[in-house]
Structures are given as C-alpha cells and as structure tokens.
Amino acid sequence: MSTRLTQGGIRINRTRPVTFTFNGQRLKGYEGDTLASALLANDKMMLGRSFKYHRPRGLVSSGTEEPNALFGIGKGGRFEPNQRATMQELYDGLTAASQNHWPSLEFDVGEINAYLSRFFPAGFYYKTFMWPRSFWKHVFEPVIRQSAGLGKAPKDRDADTYEHFYHFCDVLVIGGGLAGLVAAQAAASGGARVTLLEQEAQFGGRTGVDAPEAAAQAAALVEELSGMANVRLIRRCMGAGVYDHGYVLGYERLTDHLADKAGPRHRLWRIRAGQVITATGAIERPLSFAGNDVPGVMLAAAVRDYLVNFGVSVGDRVVVVTNNDDAYLTAIRLVEAGLSVPAIVDARAGGAGELGAKAEGLGIRVLKGHGIARVKGRRRVTGVALCRQVGEGAVTEELACDAVAMSGGWSPVVHLWSHCGGKLIWDEDQAMFRPDAARPPTGADGAGFVRVAGAANGVMALDALVRDAADQGLAAAEAVGQGGTPADLPEVPARADHAIEPVWLMPASASRELRAKAWLDYQNDVKVTDIQLAAQEGYESVEHAKRYTTLGMATDQGKLSNINGLAVLSGALDSPIPQVGTTTFRPPYTPISMGAIAGEARGDTFQPLRRSPLHDWHEANGADWEPVGPWRRPYTYLRASETRAQAVEREILQTRNSLGLLDASTLGKLIVKGPDAGRFMDMMYTNMMSNLKPGKCRYGLMCSENGFLVDDGVVARIDEDTWLCHTTTGGADRIHAHMEEWLQTEWWDWQVHTANLTEQYAQIAVVGPMARTVLETLGGMDLSKEALGFMEWTDGVLADIPVRVYRISFSGELSYEIAVRASLGQALWDKIADVGAAYRIMPYGTECLHILRAEKGFIMIGDETDGTVIPQDLGLHWAISKKKEDFLGKRAQERRHMTDPDRWKLVGLETTDGSVLPDGAYAVTEGVNANGQRNVQGRVTSTYHSPTLGRGIAMGLVLHGPDRMGETLEFPGTDGKTYTATIVDPVFYDKDGEKQNV
C-alpha cells in the first residue's frame, strides 16, 4: 500500500489540508502536494490504462517525464485532458478523472486488447489497414476514430485567457536546480541581465532530496539572486523551445495551481537572449524487465522524491533494482524512514561504491549480479522473481514486496540544446548521450549561443556539477561582453561511486516470453520485442523504427523510452549506439496549451478586421458582409424579407435606372512622385502613363516581370511630378510593395517617392443617370459634361466638404467617384444619401458592382485573371503600348508560349436557354487526355444572372474564342446538367458607351 507517513515531506504543509476529487471520490492532500503525491498518499496506485492494450498503469516518475498518470483536469470551460499528475500542484476543489477506460478504471472492456496482444504486434496498423481498400472507409476508420486519442477533447469554449510577453536579456538560464542557480549567479556577477526560468514551483531541483547538506546553500543562492537588480527569477515557467538567434519560448503557468482562476491562465514568454544556458538536469531511465509496467514499479529517484518531498511511501516493502549507485540512495532513505527494503538487486557483479557500503551498513541485503526476472501482480506489485543478470531468467528466488524502485542510469535532458541544432556525443563511460560542446547551436555570427550546465551536460557528481555550472555561467557572461568574477562555490558533498554498467535488457538474454512483457514506451505500449521486430523487418533507421513501432510518439515524446529503445535497436542491429543515433528533439519540451500559443488572438482580436470609414453605417443598414482580404465589404444590403438575389437585383435596376451609391474606400490609392515618376509609371504599367495630362485619368494594367496581369485600375495625373494610382482592394499593399521593391532594388537611382494613401480617403461612387443631378444639388462644383469630362478629375468643395471628384465608371453609367478625407467620409455619404432620397438612391454592394461591370464586359482581377493570364488573353491589346521600349512584363510577353495562338482568349458566353452557367465550368471537346479525362477547350471566369438583360451572362477563356463568334459550347455542370452557351462579344450592355458619355 502507498500511504502518507506521519513524518517528513519538505514541500508539504501539514497544517493546510486540501480536498480534491479523483473520479468523483473526495480525497485529502496537503498544500504543497502534487496531484501525483496526493493520489499516492491515498493509495491510488493504478491511475490509468495504457493506450493500446489498456494495461493497468500507475505512476512511474515524479516529474515532466511521466508517461502514465495523465488526467482530465478541471470541468466545463476549464477541462483539459492529458495533464500530468506529477506537474499538477494540488489546490482545493481540483477535480481529476482518469482516462482511456470504459466503463471504469477498475473494469475496462478494452483490456481485452492485452489478451490479444500477439495479434497486435508493431506495425499492426501498417499491415492491417492496407487491405482491402474499401474496408478503410467503412470498417477501420470508424473503429479507429472511436478508440483514438488518449483523453477526451474539451467540449466547451475555453473559459480562460492567455497572453504573450516579450522579454529581452543577456543570459537566459533554463532550469533552477543547483546548477542553474550557480550558473545564474556566475552569469550575473559582471552585471549582465540574467533571467532564470524554473518549471516547478520551487528552486533547488533535486538538492533537497539528494543532497540535503547543500539545500541551505541553494536556498541562500535563491535569496541572493532574488535581491539582484540585474536578475529575474521566474517560477512555474518551462523553457519550451530554443530557436534561431537566441529566441526562446518560456511557458509560464499562472493559475493552474490556484483554486481562484482570475487573470490569464498561461503566459508565453517570447524571449531574446544573448546567450542561453540550459541547466535542465537529467531524467532517470527505467530498466527493461518483464512486468516493469505494473503499478508500483517506479523510478528509484521518484520513490525517494515522494518520500522526502511529500512524506509519502510507495509501499512498506520496496525492492530496489539498479545498474548504478544512485538507486542505493533510495534504499537508504527508505530504511532511514523506517520502511523495509527486502533487497537491492544490482545488475553489476561488483556492486556499488561508498553508498553500497552504507546500505550494507544499514543492514540492507544487496544481491550483486542479479536482476528481476518478472514482476508479480497485475493491478499492483505483489512481489518479484529474481534471476541472474546473465542468462535467460531462470528464477533464483522470489521476494514479496509492494513496490519496485528501478534505475537504469540517467539521461541528460539535452532537448533544448538539440532544438536548434546542438549535437550530441555518446559517453561510453556514463552510458548516456550528452551535449558535444564543440558542436553547439550557432547564431548569426557562427558562434554558439547555447551552453549546458550540470547534469544536463553529463556532469553528474555534485562537486563537479557546481564547478561546471559556474564555468558555463562565466563563459556566457563573457560571450555577451559582461564577464564577471567567480563567486565562492557552494560546498557540496563528493561521492565515490562505482561506474554504471549499461543494462538494456534484464536479464541480458531474456527469453521471448519475458521480452514481450518488458515495456520500453509505457504510453504507447511498445515492448522490447516490438523494436526487435522492427529491426528484423528492415526498419533499421531509428526514425523509421520509431514510426513503425510508435516508440516515443506519445504525449511524453519518449522521455523515458528513447534511449532504452535505441539501445535495444542497436543490439538488434549489432550496430553501436552512436551509429544508431537518436530521433530528433523538437520543441516544445512538453506540450504547451494552444491558448498560450494563440495568446490574445481570440474573439475580437483573433484577426485584424479592416473597417472602411463607412463600416458602421453599412452594418446599421443591412449589410450582408463579404470578406475581401482583411476588409469586410457589403455584398449587398438586405431589406426586410428580401433574399440576397432579390436585394442584388433591386440594387442593379435602381443604379441602372436612377442612382446607386458605392463605398469604394477600400480601393488602393498610391502616390508616385518625383522627376523620374513618369519613366517609372511607364515601367509599371503596360500602357503609356507619362503622357497623361494633369487633370486626366487613364485605365492601366500592371504585369509581373513574367508578363502575367497582376492588377488594374485608373491612374490620375495630379501634377507635373505626381501620379495617383488606383489599385484593386486586394492590390493596395501588394502593389505598393511591388513598386518599392523595384525602386529599392533595381532603379534605386531613380528619383521617385511613393506613398500609400489608401486609408487617407473615403471614396464614394455616385452612379447612375441621376448622379450629376444629385451632386449639383449638393452644390459647390460645376460637374457638367463640359466642366468635367469622362476620365477627368478635379478638386473642389461639395456641400462644404473638400473633395476630389473623378469622373470614371466601372459600371457603364454616368459615374463620379468622390474622394474625401476619411474623417469626413460619413458626413459626405449622409449628405449624398439625403439629397439622393428624391431619386430613391440606394447603396449597392460588391455583387451589384460585379454584375454591372460584367454586363459591360469589364474584367475583374481575380476572376478573369488567376496568375496565368496575360493582358493579350483578355483582348486588352489596346492597353499595351507598342511604342514603349520597355515595361514590366514586355519581354516575357514576347516568349513563344505567350504568343501561342492557341492560348485561350476572352469571350462572352450566353446560354441558349437564358440560364446561368456554373462558375468555373469547363467547355468540353472531343476525346480524352492521358488521364482519361474529357478534353477541354475553355472555362468560365465570371458568370451572373443579369437583371438588366433578364438572362444569364458570362465571360470565359476559350480556345480561338474571338474567332468563333456564334459557335456553341457545352459545359457539363457538377449538378449533372450540361449547359449550352453561344460565344458572343463580352460587352453585353450599351456597347457604344452612350450611357456614361452624357
């Protein structure tokens, strides 16, 4: 039985009891407990079920590496699955529920998988779901979806908030154990700005448990650092990832440990550090013996953590099994606490050094050269069968016990070192991968920017560890130009240990039956035999073996299993461990919340929404919004019970017959000015712009250097030196950047300045036969045909508001576009609407705009163009200068493919029955292509129902289209019907342009 002892527990406060709920049962713990220690204190040994075989599982560790004790924590909007009990501080009212079982933790139907385990070998999924093909959709996928995933996905909207914080420092130390504290002190000694991140609630790491003699010195260091103005200590903040140029993510958990959840839950620290020191310690490895996953089999260090930190015993009788000296400390602590250790089972024939003598002095029986053949018990340990470490596992004796403390050695936490490219070396003597200081992650200057201190650096002995940490701290300070002076190092005990002897399988020649119960990856149920099978089937690369067996692919990312797994693979391949190598360490170190990544980006602030100066008016007047890039534009304005189509039709007829009003503010407005502006404009546009007269407007096309049409719009010549370029809504920023790029990279010696004035003006289009009448009623300007001709602009004052009026038309109607300061946009709009009321003026949206232009055969960037279309395809030869020596795209348009007469060309399309062609439909022709698809000879680019004409109209690109007027084409729709359309001129309405020339 695991239980709380009456004494001990340096982290808990016995005067502050805390109640929490586990699977609906109310339990008691103390302030300072983790959920894991509190569960153990309540004799909860079996805490969940494994993913594949649903085996009963209990706590293995006491830290971030925990693979088994994962819970759904919280309720409703605060529920989160897969939370590690070892990292969850206890608080009053915490609710936890175990995962991956049905109907209950104790009785689970899925456990049958375990009995069928020989039918579920590694690669089972690969092999099974390949055939027959139809089974995937109807059988396998539904079943897998039922059983997929470890925890339950939250159903409610997240009740918490999250935020980011940008932080800058000279030296960032990750890890607040003794090494991190010493490194931080050294790094700060010359005045450098130092930040220390500690993922847990307290500093000192393992000091309190493993070297209590040094605990006071660690505490004094924390105090000293807290008092230094150039040092910042952040607790409950994990160094999640190290990225290029000293960029590091810190994941701070602000309220996960509190009953009161006010304020942000997590804060993501986005850190730029000059130098990074990772002092992330090491993780103990399990040993691979049969039954090493039975609840009660735990890491040796975890057993003493629970004892010393929380006063929790994992069992009255604990067998310790090890291949190194460190685990002896567990036995000694247990016996000192009055518990029983039936034996220390040491795989090494020579046993331990100093600690061995101490253990034997305490009367602990040490069995050298022995191992565990198998663990007895299913839902909890009841005993162990021992054997010689050499051999196949013939049982030498059995011991009754209720827990096993195992240690297979320590693996430095090299993750953060490796994230940005730091390389590792295999240290044969210590049987571990550790950072290779000669091959660090490098910054822009080619020098390393990450150092590793202490156990993370493979320096395990405490005295050497503090020296290493101080050296790394001073070196980092030196590297940022703030070198300091070494302080006195904490006095720590030295220990004379015997060397570790690597044990990758226990016993060394274990039979298949034993190997098939020796777990490597607890969470994904990967056994020694699975890795061996992968090797046998040719998955020799460690990355392939990982994916084939799913070793290390669970939420713990193989923190316990990777080294053991690759060592087994190395054995199976007869290839040395360094040659097998490791899989790739990727951030984050442990999972971080999606909320923390999103930060403030949710709800109102999920994404910037660009609002025109008239946005609020549109919203209040029935706007049915359409996203246009980051803008919202009204698609149409709905009235009463109208459908969208009815609203659009109303807007079109009213505009054609009387008066419409359009918010054109989103169109780009770019100023181009300078002595070389004319020359520049001629390069930017395909047609001539330098000879445009001040006061005049001209429609122009812009192409990329590859000849493709990228934007269009009306250009106005403002004065001798200045042009104003209107771009499409989506083109404003892009075209401004395009202009600046050419100016800054190619024509840097041309005297041209540009400015993006898109948002300076609201632009209102007044469109329809009554447009002039309304503007003249507003008063202030002469806008007669004589005073302001088609394609001219003028400055003036309308209704006491200063404006610039462009007489341009994208609808074929008499039309004025009025630019006004954005802050006066609403005022002008209101005045026009007031005066226009007499003519039943109506605001119209983008759909009406599109149909009006399609009726006139005007192209739309993004409809008629898609990045593969050149102006020549669209019959726009008239807008391509033949006189100019050069313009962007000219050379490209002369290439053979661009001048190919077989390029599809723009035509109008008119259905024979008046129906509307489906958008994007293809015109088919004889025969099939190499893929067995119908050959095609054209496609629809724009298609609408025209209320003006009372039938469907469309534009499309068709093979030899302009030469085939009157021919009919067939367009199969996705609705099963085939549409027949006649090739016609693309201008459907008012071909001579009489309506706009009044």
Partner: protein
C-alpha cells in the same frame, strides 16, 4: 461645415493601464533626403525644430510648432494640430519646391491611441516585440514595430504614457488589443 470624426470616437478603457483614443491628429509624411537643406528647412517650418536638433534614427523630437519622428532613412513623420495640416503643408511645399521630396497629409489614414499609467510599459510589452525596459526605451525614442498582427509606431510622452499610431482601418482591432492586454488582474510586475 461637417465635423470630422476619428475612427474610435474618443473611446476609452481603464484597466491595468488607461487606453484612450487621442482623437484626430495632424500627421504629415515627408519622404526625401533627410540631410538635404530643403528637406531640413521644411521640417523646421512644420515643427520649429532647427536642423541639428532634428531627429536622428529612432528619435522623436518636439519643437515649438510640432513634432518630428524618424521613420526610415528617407522618411519622417511630422505631427501638428489636425486643423493646421493644410497650412503647414502649403508652407512646407514652398521650401520643397525645388527639392525631390514628397510631403502628404496622412492624418486621416491613421489612428492615435494613448496608453497611460504605471503599467503602460507592461501592456505594450505584451503586444510588441520590443525591448521596452527603461534602459533601452525612454521618452524621445520612437519605434515602428508590430502590435500583435498589425503594424504600429510607438513612443513615450513621459515615463507613464505611450502614444501608439496604427492604420485607421484597424483602429478597432488596436483598441481591443490594448484593452485585452490591460485587463485588470493580468499584471506581470515586470518593469
């Protein structure tokens, strides 16, 4: 005469810091060779700041008539009262007549917000990838940066207040961002 209105209609929020729309602000973008005599003289005309005192990179300087802020190696932003922009521009054009330079009114293309209080630095540091520690960021410094997902420029009027310029179309987003970052109980205790 109709009254011009700012994008945020003088909205304000009080939390960890105060967030407020500053209303309409005259702003003139000046592009040109910042060391050219005509350009310097145009800046002096607009702001009253004489040549040697005009802003160097990342600086913002206030003169008798207005403020000048360095934007890029060939761009300056000049601030003056909203109602005076036309007159200031006209005076500047005189100085710039023979120079290759561009001076335009961008007052309506922008919004100006103010973030005030002892936690103002902290609120900004949640949104902008800038080192805002007093050692590196003080009144007199201007930075063009990113505020969450939008471009912004910011400077400090005094130890307790930031001025933030963003594009007018995203003023609403900017206000909501600052409001979110200034939620009570979200203090970091950083500066």
């Amino acid at each position: 005469m109709s009254e011009p209105i700012s994008a945020l209609g003088m909205a304000r929020f009080d939390g960890l810091a105060g967030v407020a729309d500053c209303g309409l602000q005259g702003m003139i973008t000046l592009r040109g060779d910042l060391s050219a005599r005509a350009v310097k003289s145009a800046v002096t005309t607009a702001t009253g700041i004489t040549g040697p005192k005009q802003p160097r990179p990342l600086q913002i300087v206030t003169g008798k008539a207005g403020t000048a802020a360095w934007m890029s190696p060939d761009e300056m932003l000049l601030l003056c009262p909203y109602g005076e922009v036309d007159a200031v521009l006209a005076a500047m054009q005189q100085k710039l007549a023979k120079a290759h330079a561009l001076a335009v009114d961008v007052s309506d293309a922008r919004a100006l917000l103010q973030v005030t209080g002892p936690s103002a630095r902290e609120v900004m540091a949640k949104l902008c990838p800038l080192d805002l520690s007093p050692a590196t960021f003080q009144p007199g410094t201007i930075r063009r940066t990113r505020m969450a997902q939008i471009p912004a420029a910011l400077w400090m009027e005094d130890e307790m207040s930031f001025q933030v310029i963003c594009f007018r179309s995203v003023a609403d987003y900017a206000f909501n961002l600052l409001k979110t970052a200034a939620q009570p109980e979200s203090g970091v205790g950083y500066f």
